[in-house]
Assembly symmetry: C2
Homo-oligomer: 146 residues x 2
């Protein structure tokens, strides 16, 4: 039987979250966290609605997953996020010891690689899954803003 | 008239928060945020109680201050924190554009300088205020844990 649970399958779910953010006037970033092909957290950027710079999609997904799992470490979990994490989110992911991160679009200026942050040595990271779609949504948002 | 509102004055308040964390079995880090000599947020590390790696003292203080001010940028604010921020907290502080950070103890291994994070160019930072007291509390905590 064909495995439907590919990285693209889950990135599409994260992208749906990003689209919800877009519709709400938030910078369109979405995230989900998956364990054993089960989605345990869905979130999107809420910095404008909550007036809170810490309300990035990844931060909410980390908190929600820890809550769901009843423990603060996200071993065995995979984060799908439509934009490369910033240094704040990379730092939170570092502390969580999450097993895998799958990113859509690259953030050249504010991504953790540009800013100099670090992930946990136990964390695997994959870039560029549905990059075009994730990136197009970001571009459409900033074009609308101008 | 003598100015009682020195960096030491406010760091003592942050240290009281750190002592509360210590008493609760949390890694003893405390933070306060001040505007015009008025304390607008007090917090301490709650990662164990909340089972949440994002519940650092600084993160809570940023969220509480933004809530108090009704806006997400912390211009004109000063953070007093008993330990040098990690990359997650440095990243959150970056986004907040906070005006000033005053640190107590240095975190050689997990501080944002060791991990490679960046603060906002508008943010001034001062190290080593009541360093001895802040550092002693950390050492006492880890000694007790062993």
């Amino acid at each position: 039987m064909e495995n439907i649970f590919t990285d693209e399958y889950f990135m599409k779910k994260a992208l749906l979250e990003a689209e919800t953010a877009f519709e709400q006037g938030e910078i369109p970033v979405g995230a989900i966290i998956v364990v054993d092909n089960r989605i345990i957290a869905r979130s999107h950027n809420l910095t404008e609605m909550l007036n809170d710079v810490t309300a990035h999609a990844e931060m909410q997904a980390i908190t929600a997953s820890a809550n769901f799992l009843g423990g603060k470490y996200l071993k065995g979990c995979t984060l799908y996020v439509t934009l490369e994490p910033c240094q704040m989110c990379a730092g939170a992911l570092y502390w969580s010891q999450i097993s895998k991160i799958v990113c859509g679009a690259t953030d050249e200026h504010r991504g953790f690689r540009a800013m100099g942050g670090k992930l946990h040595p136990k964390t695997e990271i994959v870039y560029g899954v549905m990059e075009q779609e994730c990136s197009s949504l970001m571009k459409a948002f900033f074009k609308k803003k101008r």
